[in-house]
């Protein structure tokens, strides 16, 4: 006869579970970002590698420090992958040859102010990576708008390992390798000074460069194709759904096309907007951040539309050439409101919450009662 004693703390079901976990979700997103990350490291060389490593480490150590201060179990949370993901997203949105203190300050700011001050995992209102990026941009505009031209890793123009260390920790003096405007910024400046779209874009916007990523920009935003591939992986694995990226991209396309149609020489076309800047990175990896986006599908569509609209508005009429980070932060602040008002329809109730009613005619129809001979 078996012992029969199986006692445990009484707990309601279910007593089985999907294999999806928080760590697995983080790992999948990191995996989806790796092609674009590796490509970015390749074309921007050693300084970019240093920057990435520094940002990841700063974020991770800041996480451990914050957990210790808050008295939370360190091992469980430090290994959940969320700090690494935040660090990665931040690094991908930084200028590739930024100095070491940008990485360290940004990483610490993102984790401590962007996440732990709000209560840690799941409680932050704003996307931590974007919060840090915007804080850096406003505080250190010079360093945050100094862009490196692509210099593939093993080519002659690329700095070697030691030179890379020097660039990251001490600074660089060769001005030819840098430019003070990303190409989104350059286009904006030129347009504001009266240039027209067609000749301007002809000169600098090359489709193959934009798709592949051999152009200047932040560390991870350049390769449209690789970012798109990562986004498709996330959709396939059901980490994200089409609602936010779809809504954001469609809104940008529609608004840009409309403005381009109304005044083709003042406003660049939709393809430019989608491929330039961090639109794709933002649509698939930043706006879709689970904690800071709405939890209902309709809410997510509204969120995506808002992000897209604000991105375009800030890019075109705002003071900064890049709008994605600001747009996402503004929409993050609206998320609690969206979640409060936009709720799914409850079974057995109408949208207003009253119980559904069926007329006898409707019941007859649904139960196929007219078909009966009796």
């Amino acid at each position: 006869m078996s012992t029969g004693a199986v006692s445990h703390d009484p707990i309601a079901g279910p007593h089985t579970h999907t294999s999806r976990s928080v760590t697995m979700t983080m790992v999948l997103v990191i995996l989806a970002l790796s092609p674009a990350t590796l490509f970015g490291l390749y074309i921007f060389g050693w300084p970019a590698i240093n920057l990435l490593v520094l940002t990841l480490f700063s974020a991770w150590l800041a996480e451990i420090g914050a957990l210790w201060l808050a008295g939370k179990p360190i091992r469980v949370f430090a290994l959940d992958g969320s700090a690494i993901l935040t660090g990665l997203l931040l690094a991908l949105s930084l200028p590739p040859w930024a100095p070491w203190w940008i990485a360290v300050f940004g990483g610490i700011f993102a984790i401590v102010v962007g996440k732990h001050i709000f209560g840690g995992l799941g409680n932050n209102v704003f996307n931590p990576a974007m919060l840090a990026r915007v804080a850096l941009l406003i505080s250190f505009p010079l360093e945050m708008t100094t862009w490196a031209n692509p210099a593939p890793l093993f080519a002659a123009a690329s700095p070697g390992f030691l030179e890379g260390i020097k660039i990251t920790f001490i600074g660089f003096s060769e001005i030819d390798a840098l430019s003070s405007a990303s190409y989104l910024g350059h286009v904006k400046t030129e347009l504001s000074q009266g240039a027209t779209v067609t000749p301007l874009l002809e000169g600098i916007f090359q489709l193959d460069q934009a798709l592949l990523g051999t152009r200047n920009g932040s560390l991870g935003e350049t390769s449209a194709l690789l970012l798109l591939a990562g986004g498709v992986l996330l959709l396939y694995k059901r980490v994200i759904t089409w609602h936010i990226p779809g809504a954001m991209l469609l809104t940008i396309v529609l608004v840009a096309s409309l403005m381009n149609f109304l005044s083709p020489e003042q406003y660049p076309h939709a393809l430019f907007h989608v491929l330039a800047g961090s639109t794709l990175l933002g649509a698939f990896f930043i706006a879709t951040d689970l904690v800071t986006s709405p939890s209902t599908k309709r809410g997510q569509i509204l969120f995506g539309v808002g992000c897209g609209l604000l991105t375009y508005v800030i890019r075109t009429w705002g003071g900064y050439p890049e709008g994605v980070s600001f747009a996402v932060l503004i929409m993050n602040s609206v998320t609690p409101l969206i979640d409060y008002y936009i709720r799914p329809r409850i079974y057995g109730r109408t949208h207003t919450g009253a119980p559904v009613t069926y007329t006898p005619k409707k019941i007859k129809k649904q139960l196929h009662l007219e078909d009966d001979a009796s």
């Binding site: 078996s2 199986v6 009484p10 309601a12 007593h15 799941g122 057995g348 109730r349 559904v356 649904q366």
Partner: protein, 499 residues
């Protein structure tokens, strides 16, 4: 027939292959049977027998109390050893009033009256016979079936749905019953149709049971108003509300019942029991139980007399392969965790599942990352993350605002949650909190009412007292005045006489 889709739902690994091909075996009689008096929703049954009395198989042991109740019958012949407390098959392990029966091995049946065809009976009589047979919902809900077979002229039933969904993983009892006794089930369905005077019946079977589907199709081929349909295998398809939505496109209105839209749902096992009761005069004294799970040596589908201990079933199945991490009565999604196996099988025990740690996939709970998976899978359109957040801070009203009272506790949300948050536990807690608050409020209202009545009564008494006093005073004064007047009159007469 066109089918509709319900919102959300999850696809847990079904694991039915572990027991789906095991034909139903009769469970041999145990040394003792422990028959609880509460195996159904409603008032417990009241014992009719005394300690030491010998009973026959099918004899009434306890009668129902009131309309929402069910009687309990002896699963076999034997002696009533005791009427007292025994461990209930419930996670709490709390006791329930139970009749202990010692089988005498003869399995002697109670003599029953000659059988009449159920179709000459009045529909009300069919319901009465079903009630007298102690039949309750065999899908696990155990609602007294007689109540659900009474025809209500104000809410006529047009469509009877027979639930052959069995969406819970591991459970194969309904599957086997449909494969092995399709004609009996079909007969039960036709009897039910007669009782309800409903126009047609739809037997819905999930598409992961092709053999059961063909068996039922064959059995119902010549019955004109009974259709057998395949429905998609999706949890919780077997839930009444979702089944109705899939088959008819209509939703049961909040706060109302399926009867209000002309539909009624009964489990295939209930239909089988109705057949047994109306054709063979057999009350509900046994049921099919699936014994399965990774920790069981031999999985089986057993025909078990009510009151058999779970430990006896496990022993009959070869015992445990390894100590189970959890022992469940029911399926893994909505089943109840048993504290140990010395509890009896009751009318609603569809399965005994002994799970290993790998099958449960236990993980520690992380904070909610607001991923919204729970919202996507909820078949009722609720927001589990918001309800749980409010339950966590004892805000029952807030949780109700987000739909807590519309929750069917299917567990899809907790199944899908990547942070392993025990959402259903939070909802159970919040529902309990809401019930307590309601009770306290009603008590508070009653107390206030009583205080008001008392104040009014005191005021009334004081008023009456004052009126009475005033009346007495007026009387006294009138008397005095009359006396004074009389004296004066007498004086006047005297003076007149003397003058």
């Amino acid at each position: 027939m066109k089918l509709f889709r319900f919102r959300g739902g999850v696809h847990p690994q079904s694991n039915k292959v572990l027991s789906a091909d095991r034909a139903i075996e009769a469970m041999p009689l145990s040394e003792r049977l422990y028959i609880p008096l509460q195996q159904h929703i409603g008032a417990p049954a009241e014992p009719r027998v005394k300690q030491g009395e010998r009973v026959l198989k099918g004899q009434l042991l306890a009668h129902s109390q009131g309309m929402i109740s069910a009687p309990v019958h002896a699963p076999t012949s034997g002696t009533v050893l005791a009427i007292g407390d025994f461990t209930a098959p419930h996670p709490s392990g709390l006791p329930v009033r139970t009749i202990t029966l010692e089988p005498d091995g003869k399995d002697e049946c109670l003599e029953t009256a000659k059988l009449i065809s159920p179709f000459v009976l009045e529909p009300g009589d069919i319901a009465a016979k079903v009630g007298a047979a102690g039949i309750v919902g065999m899908g696990g809900a155990t609602f007294p079936s007689a109540v659900k077979l009474l025809r209500d002229e104000k809410r006529p039933i047009h469509t009877l749905v027979i639930n052959g969904g069995e969406c819970e993983p591991y459970l194969t009892c309904d599957d086997r019953l449909m494969r092995e006794s399709p004609k009996e089930i079909a007969d039960g369905v036709v009897i039910m149709l007669h009782a309800l005077k409903a126009r047609r019946a739809l037997i819905a079977i999930e598409d992961n049971k092709p053999e059961a589907f063909s068996a039922m199709m064959k059995a119902c081929r010549l019955i004109g108003n009974v259709d057998v349909l395949k429905v998609p295998s999706l949890y919780p398809m077997g839930s009444e509300k979702q089944m109705i939505q899939t088959l008819t496109g209509m939703e049961v209105p909040a706060g109302k019942m399926a009867m209000d839209i002309g539909v009624l749902v009964h489990n295939v096992g209930t239909a089988f029991a109705v057949h047994q009761a109306l054709r063979n005069s057999r009350p509900l004294v046994s049921r099919i139980v699936t014994v399965s799970g990774g920790a069981i040596s031999n999985t089986k589908n057993l025909d078990v007399p009510i009151g058999t201990l779970v430990s006896d079933l496990i022993e009959y199945c070869g015992g445990y392969k390894e100590p189970p991490a959890r022992l469940l009565m029911g399926g893994p999604m909505m089943g109840q965790a048993l504290p140990h196996d010395r509890v009896p099988i009751v009318k609603g025990s569809s399965g005994i599942i002994a799970l290993t740690a790998e099958e449960i996939k236990p993980k520690h709970t992380m904070p909610c990352i607001r991923c919204g998976s729970c919202v996507s899978v909820c078949p009722c359109g609720l927001m589990p993350l918001e309800m749980a957040a409010r339950a966590r801070v004892n805000d029952a009203e807030g949780a109700i605002n987000y739909g807590l009272m519309d929750c069917i506790s299917c567990g899809s949300c907790a199944y899908a949650c990547p942070s392993n948050i025990p959402l259903v536990q939070y909802f159970n807690y919040a529902k309990g909190l809401a019930a307590k608050e309601r009770e306290e409020k009603s008590k508070h209202d009653k107390t206030r009412q009583l205080a008001e009545f008392r104040a009014a009564r005191l005021e009334r008494e004081a008023r009456e007292k004052a009126e009475a006093a005033a009346r007495r005073k007026a009387q006294r004064e009138a008397k005095k005045a009359a006396e004074a007047a009389a004296v004066k009159k007498a004086e006047a007469e005297n003076s007149e006489a003397s003058a």
